[in-house]
């Protein structure tokens, strides 16, 4: 039985249309949304200051098997990165395409150390050759991020420029660089502040909460499945 896809589409949509309820468009849904928005303003439990939220971030990330490190200022980030790479013997390092990494000139700083082999947008004539296998060879993948949600220790990451989606996925350790000003309390705080559905969405945006994990064998928690085995955040400022 071969059917014409356009016809199938038409038939299916026609059937769906006859099954649509014409009842008051969307009133219950908007009413619920009103209630949720007003309840959010009433809920004052939990951390209130940025310091408290950063503490929450630290403990939540730790609980998930990740790690938060701090740097006094932006300029102190490169040495924190070097420390991490050295203590873990990471030699091959991939750098994402991010404003923060540019600002602290991370590539130049790391290039001062002969032991590191860097992969970034300048180190190859055709960066796209590096997708997949080359990035999978790296032990450390470094990116910035759009925001961090402290309550759940969630990193909001838009995959753009060099490294794209694979750089935060293939290397054994994913390192996220961020500033304190990028930390939000709850998911809804970030949502309200940025209205994420309004602007143009990137091709892929990922919310990352801890290193990859599974509990598929007897519900025993194992971190490090297909994605990174380690997740480290360095927070500056």
């Amino acid at each position: 039985m071969t059917t014409d896809p356009a016809l199938t589409r038409q038939v299916l949509l026609a059937r769906l249309r006859t099954l649509e309820l014409s009842a008051s468009q969307d009133s219950a849904r908007s009413r619920q949304w009103e209630e949720i928005r007003s309840s959010a303003t009433e809920d004052l439990s939990g951390p209130t200051s940025l310091d408290q939220w950063v503490n929450q971030l630290r403990s939540e990330l730790q609980r998930l098997g990740g790690e938060l490190r701090t740097a006094a200022s932006l300029n102190d980030i490169p040495s924190a990165v070097v420390d991490l790479a050295r203590e873990s013997r990471y030699k091959r390092i991939a750098l994402g395409d991010d404003r923060l990494l540019e600002e602290i000139r991370l590539a130049d700083q790391l290039n001062n150390f002969v032991e590191f082999r860097l992969l970034d947008k300048r180190s190859a004539s055709n960066p796209k050759d590096h997708a997949g296998p080359a990035l999978a060879q790296c032990q450390l993948g470094i990116t910035g991020c759009q925001a961090i949600i402290a309550e759940t220790a969630t990193i909001v990451l838009d995959h753009q420029g060099f490294g794209g989606r694979s750089l935060s996925l293939l290397p054994e350790c994913h390192l996220v660089l961020a500033q304190r000003s990028q930390v939000f309390g709850r998911l809804r705080d970030w949502w309200n502040a940025t209205q994420p559905g309004r602007d143009n969405l990137p091709t892929c945006r990922t919310f990352i909460t801890g290193p990859s994990r599974t509990a598929d064998i007897e519900k025993v928690l194992v971190t490090g499945v297909h994605g990174p085995l380690r997740l480290v955040v360095i927070l500056a400022g």
Binding site: L21, H159, G197, C204, T209
Partner: protein, 465 residues
């Protein structure tokens, strides 16, 4: 894809006698329930979120044509392709055709219940394409040649020792029953596949009409691999996966992980809006979204059953169900087990197939109480029982007994003399303090003993002061 036509009763009896299985099931479900309870208790607005999620799904499901068309237009605007499939077969054939077009011999798959539903792996194999399941649980059961027994934890029925032996046998590695080591073995085996495959197949957790985004939620990172590395990404979704706006997504993100695994948020939430753009470094060049009906419109046509399309496949109702906890997923005979499976299977596979499933419930209502989208699951089971009875598919003995009961209840004198007769029979045949033995029925439960005197007699004696 299914256990054929073996009756639930037989499958359940076999599983109930399997001590190992019952241990595995109990451990897993209790673990998930405890995790869920603690995660839910942290959210003061939990009930409000459930009500909102219900309202959002209701809006979407009541206006599917509108939102699906909007979604389609958005996907196309971002450069993706949309294919509508009325049957599972059409969907599977389209997947095979796409693979053929790209001369793919290997397809990597992220966990998708919808693909199980349409028997996609079988269709791919027949076309000479190797489907590789990459979710650890799915990988395990694919190696074992079994089907998932739970919608979020497919290999929950297996112990670590069983998995260790399976890996030793199928992968030729040395035996270990350490979950950490077993996971590492799977990681290295599947890494190669991830880097080789040109086609990645995934399900869809949520499809956002407003932005044309598909949302994928996974813990292991395999979902990200399947939708990042291959040149082609095929996403398979039932028509009911749609939600109206991007903002709506927030509500479901706050509910799903806590309900499902007791996590505050799942490790990875990927929001994919179209194929790779020129400025993007990687990601699939082609994105195909398949929108599948496969009997969902028949559910839609049934006003009492519509709500079953609100399901976000969290698995909480399975974990909490006293029947599921004991018989396990395979007893239900089709891809969707547990309370929601007992609703979906008869609806999607017909009452002949699923006639017994509405009865595989104690109607305790625990499923409805935990459901994050507030589906009235046990009421739907009751409705299905009604249609079984209406279509005269219930056992004739049951129908006869109900008929006699109805006749007696309608006639006061007959009722009183029957009650006297029953008391007499109880005295003669029942054990002390127990009710009348009813052949078959009282094998697993007791008939309640009758009161010494009826209310009517007491009233007449004036002994009710």
């Amino acid at each position: 894809m299914s256990s054929g036509t073996i009756p639930f009763k037989n499958l359940a009896r076999k599983n109930l006698a399997d001590v190992q299985l019952r241990g595995n099931l109990l451990r897993a479900t209790q673990h998930s329930l405890a995790a869920r309870a603690s995660a839910v208790s942290e959210v003061p607005e939990w009930e409000l979120l459930r009500t909102a999620a219900h309202a959002i799904k209701k809006e979407a499901v009541d206006h599917l044509a509108t939102y699906l068309e909007q979604f389609e237009a958005q996907v196309q605007a971002s450069g993706g392709h949309v294919f509508w499939a009325q049957t599972g077969r059409q969907a599977a054939e389209h997947v095979v055709a796409i693979c053929g077009h790209h001369q793919a011999t290997l397809a990597i798959k992220a966990k998708s219940m919808t693909s199980e539903e349409i028997g996609l792996n079988q269709a791919l194999l027949e076309a000479g394409i190797e489907p590789v399941e990459t979710d650890l649980g799915e990988y395990i059961i694919q190696l074992a040649g079994e089907t998932p027994s739970h919608i979020t934890a497919p290999a929950l029925h297996k112990s670590r020792a069983q998995i260790g032996k399976l890996f030793q046998e199928k992968l030729g590695c040395s035996y270990t029953d350490d979950p950490q080591k077993l996971t590492q073995i799977a990681r290295s085996r599947l890494r190669e596949k991830f880097l080789q495959a040109s086609v990645g197949i995934s399900g869809v957790n949520f499809a956002v009409a407003e932005t044309g985004s598909i949302v994928l939620i996974t813990n292991e990172g395999n979902g990200r691999m399947c939708t990042t590395l291959p040149r082609v990404h095929i996403a398979l979704m039932g028509i009911e996966k749609i939600i109206p706006t991007f903002d709506d997504l927030q509500i479901f993100l706050r509910l799903l992980a806590r309900s499902s695994t007791g996590q505050r948020l799942t490790s990875y939430v990927s929001i994919i809006s179209g194929p790779r753009k020129t400025a993007d470094f990687d990601g699939p060049e082609e994105l195909h979204v398949i929108i599948l009906d496969n009997e969902r419109t028949s559910i839609l046509a049934h006003p009492h059953m519509r709500e079953s399309l609100f399901c976000i496949r969290c698995g909480a109702c399975l974990n909490t169900c006293p029947v599921y906890q004991r018989v396990g997923g395979h007893a239900y005979g089709w891809v969707y087990p547990g309370p929601i499976g007992a609703v979906l299977t008869p609806e999607m596979q017909g009452l002949t197939r699923g006639r017994e499933l509405p009865y595989a419930s104690s109607l305790c209502g625990s499923c409805s109480a935990v459901c994050p989208v507030k589906i009235n699951i046990h009421h739907m089971l009751l409705w299905l029982r009604k249609s079984v009875v209406d279509s005269r598919r219930s056992p004739w003995t049951e129908r006869l007994i109900i008929r006699i009961f109805a006749a007696v209840m309608k006639r006061p004198r007959l009722y009183r003399s029957s009650a006297r007769l029953a008391r007499l029979l109880e005295k003669l045949f029942a054990k002390r303090g127990k009710g009348l033995p009813v052949p078959g029925w009282s094998l697993h439960r007791d008939f309640p003993p009758l009161a010494k005197q009826s209310f009517h007699d007491l009233w007449k004696q004036g002994g009710l002061s």
